[in-house]
């Protein structure tokens, strides 16, 4: 008994509220990475480069915010990559025909939210395992986007407000970064400080207990799926603005990058455990690695190898730390 209190007391003292179990490891990894890269290539710390890194983080962070909620409820969505491409094409097509950013955004959000709703209904009503259900949706969307358009939907509207969505700045900060920060903060507050957020954790940790205490666990999961979908909607529009076209081939492997970032951030695939702050760190680590590889002039194919090593290594370090804590 005394051992137990001993083990948990210092953890609360050092870690506090902000730095949970795996965040500390990630902070160290991030710091080491930044120092190592800036020693090898001083231009890493230029303002332009830092803004470039943030901009690259934005897309992943937006979707990862929703995905973190979803994984905390012990579900997962593999269809976000395919949905991202589809949303970009549909949004661009609507923009071209209506010349209205609002309508384009609405369509994109409605479509992506609809995909999330579909996934959620299949998982909660039909009780299909979310890994399988969303592989199914992924296939349907991959096929569907080619039925919708065989080639990229070009930007024929040249709306300034649409171009700003991806390439614009407010002061020195790019618009996508601001959008990502907004979505992140809303998601963070929801998860951390609201009853809804606490229920999301509870559903992931023990769904039965939540149901027995009178909360509709299905609704909560459905909510997380729809939020993930809406995040994809925003990200899809930003991406098509950045590329100045809706690309049906965009988003290949995007789902894996997002999930990798969330897992790297210490969110458990079993549900009930994890934090958005960890996800932020996960996204930063992955993107700093990407950026470092480019700045150092290394072969860009390393951008696949290094994250793979980092995901495994970070998870392993976390496990070792937990074991040490238990002792």
């Amino acid at each position: 008994m005394s051992e137990l209190t001993h083990a948990s007391a210092p953890k609360r003292f050092i870690g506090g509220q902000l730095l949970g179990s795996s965040q500390l490891v990630l902070c160290i990894i991030l710091a080491v990475l930044c120092i190592a890269i800036s020693i090898a290539a001083p231009q890493f710390y230029s303002e332009a480069n830092i803004i470039a890194i943030l901009r690259q983080c934005a897309l992943v962070l937006i979707v990862a915010s929703g995905m973190t909620m979803l994984i905390i409820t012990a579900e997962v969505d593999l269809s976000v990559g395919a949905s991202l491409a589809f949303v970009g094409c549909i949004g661009m097509a609507v923009l071209n025909s209506t010349h209205s950013l609002a309508l384009g955004m609405l369509t994109a959000l409605a479509f992506a939210g609809g995909v999330g709703l579909f996934n959620g209904l299949v998982v909660t009503r039909l009780r299909v395992n979310s890994l399988i259900a969303t592989i199914g949706t992924m296939m349907m969307l991959q096929g569907g986007v080619y039925l919708f358009t065989r080639e990229a939907v070009q930007n024929h509207n040249q709306l300034a407000s649409f171009t700003d969505l991806g390439a614009g700045y407010v002061g020195p900060v790019p618009v996508p970064v601001i959008l990502a920060a907004l979505i992140f903060v809303v998601a963070y507050v929801t998860l951390r400080f609201t009853t809804l957020g606490r229920y999301l954790y509870a559903v992931g940790a023990n769904e039965k207990a939540v149901r027995l205490s009178g909360v509709r666990s299905e609704r909560l999961k459905l909510f997380a799926f729809v939020v993930t979908g809406l995040c994809v909607g925003v990200a899809g529009m930003i991406l098509s603005s950045l590329m100045n076209a809706g690309q049906p081939t965009a988003g290949r492997g995007f789902e894996l990058t997002v999930i990798a970032a969330v897992i790297l951030g210490g969110t458990s695939l079993l549900g009930g455990r994890g934090s958005l702050f960890g996800t932020l760190l996960g996204v930063l680590v992955l993107k700093v690695i990407d950026n470092g590889i480019i700045i150092l002039g290394w072969n860009q194919d390393l951008q696949m190898v290094v994250p793979g090593v980092v995901i495994i290594l970070a998870t392993y370090l976390d496990i070792i730390r937990n074991r040490a804590n238990v002792r």
């Binding site: 039909l126 399988i132 592989i135 080619y146 951008q303």
Partner: protein
């Protein structure tokens, strides 16, 4: 003696409904339902598509299915042990490199295949060690090795295919050759492996250990099974079988393609789950997995025969996977009394 045994067991199932027998009957029904599905697909396309129900087309589909069948055995075994392996798609591309390069250098199929299997073994050992002994979630491990291998192949090849310059007859026969001029060799390999591993899973102690470990890890440990070792070996089996699939694929395309096996893991996982192998572990059979693979393969072949573009095949396959698993889940819940 034997008869009395049989009557004993019959009496057992009749009077006391022991859990295994109920489960066993559930499996039987599951595979029956899959078989009915497969027959429906076959009948539907035989009526609607000309030349669908020809020996040539049937054996062609079998040859195409051999990749997913072979890798699916490993996928199903890992699922049954309670883990997942999504690195098999990248593995297909990775092991093609030593295979083709060594064959080009030495003109020996045996050396090439040995090198490929050695690579597959190493990958299986890495996946298995990190999951079973280091205790990292298998989805994370194999997601990581999937990235590492695909990136490694891109790095090594500079994103260009390495052609097979040796053109060994025995290697080409893997894709073109047919046993008795009927069944493709690749299908023969898949069927032999399926029978062998099916026998292992149902009738050998190790097969039972895998089911036990996947069904309830704690109980399996208390029963004296070495849970870590069982899982470790399951990952090695999975990687080696995916290696065999990779060799067949390399023979079919006549080169080591850096993009080989992209999304292959999703196809195999989908077929395996369609075949009733549960992601939760401990439930399912290789027969079910094989039926799942065949249903999807005949479906896509038939849809192509109807003149539908590949996009529609993807859409319909996706819908069918969701519908099938949903139907299966509803049935299971009803069987368990809600």
């Amino acid at each position: 003696m034997r008869r009395s045994d049989k009557t004993m067991s019959l009496a057992n199932t009749a009077s006391v409904k022991t859990e295994p027998s109920v489960l066993a009957r559930l499996f039987a029904r599951q595979e029956l339902a899959l078989l009915v599905c497969l027959l429906l697909v076959l009948v539907f396309f035989s009526v609607t598509v000309e030349n669908f129900f020809s020996v040539r087309n049937m054996t062609n589909v079998l040859g195409q299915a051999s990749l997913a069948l072979t890798a699916g055995i490993g996928c199903a075994i890992v699922f049954i042990s309670g883990e997942v392996d999504i690195s098999i798609g990248s593995l297909l591309a990775t092991i093609a490199l030593p295979l083709i390069i060594i064959m080009n250098d030495t003109n020996s199929l045996l050396l090439g295949v040995s090198a490929a299997l050695l690579f597959g073994l190493i990958i299986g050992v890495v996946n298995g060690y990190l999951t079973a002994y280091a205790g990292i979630n298998s989805l994370i491990v194999t997601l990581g090795t999937m990235f590492i291998m695909r990136g490694g192949v891109y790095l090594y090849t500079g994103q260009r295919a390495i052609p097979d310059n040796a053109s060994l007859d025995s290697f080409i026969a893997l894709s073109d050759g047919r046993l008795f001029n009927i069944i493709p060799y690749s299908a023969v390999i898949a069927i032999v492996l399926l029978v062998a591993f099916g026998y292992m899973m149902q009738h050998r102690p190790f097969g039972r250990q895998i089911y036990a470990v996947g069904g309830n890890q704690e109980v399996a440990r208390l029963a004296g099974y070495d849970v870590r070792r069982v899982k470790f070996i399951c990952f090695i089996i999975s990687s080696l079988l995916a290696t065999v699939a990779g060799i067949i694929l390399a023979a079919r395309v006549g080169s080591a393609q850096h993009t080989a096996g992209l999304n292959f893991e999703f196809q195999v996982v989908a077929a395996t789950v369609l075949g009733g192998v549960s992601l939760a572990g401990g439930i399912g059979s290789l027969t079910g997995m094989a039926l799942g693979v065949l249903i999807l393969q005949f479906l896509s072949n038939g849809l192509r025969g109807l003149g539908l573009p590949t996009e529609w095949q993807l859409v319909i396959t996706g819908m069918i996977i969701i519908a099938a698993v949903a139907f299966d889940e509803a049935k299971r819940r009803r069987a368990n009394g809600g």
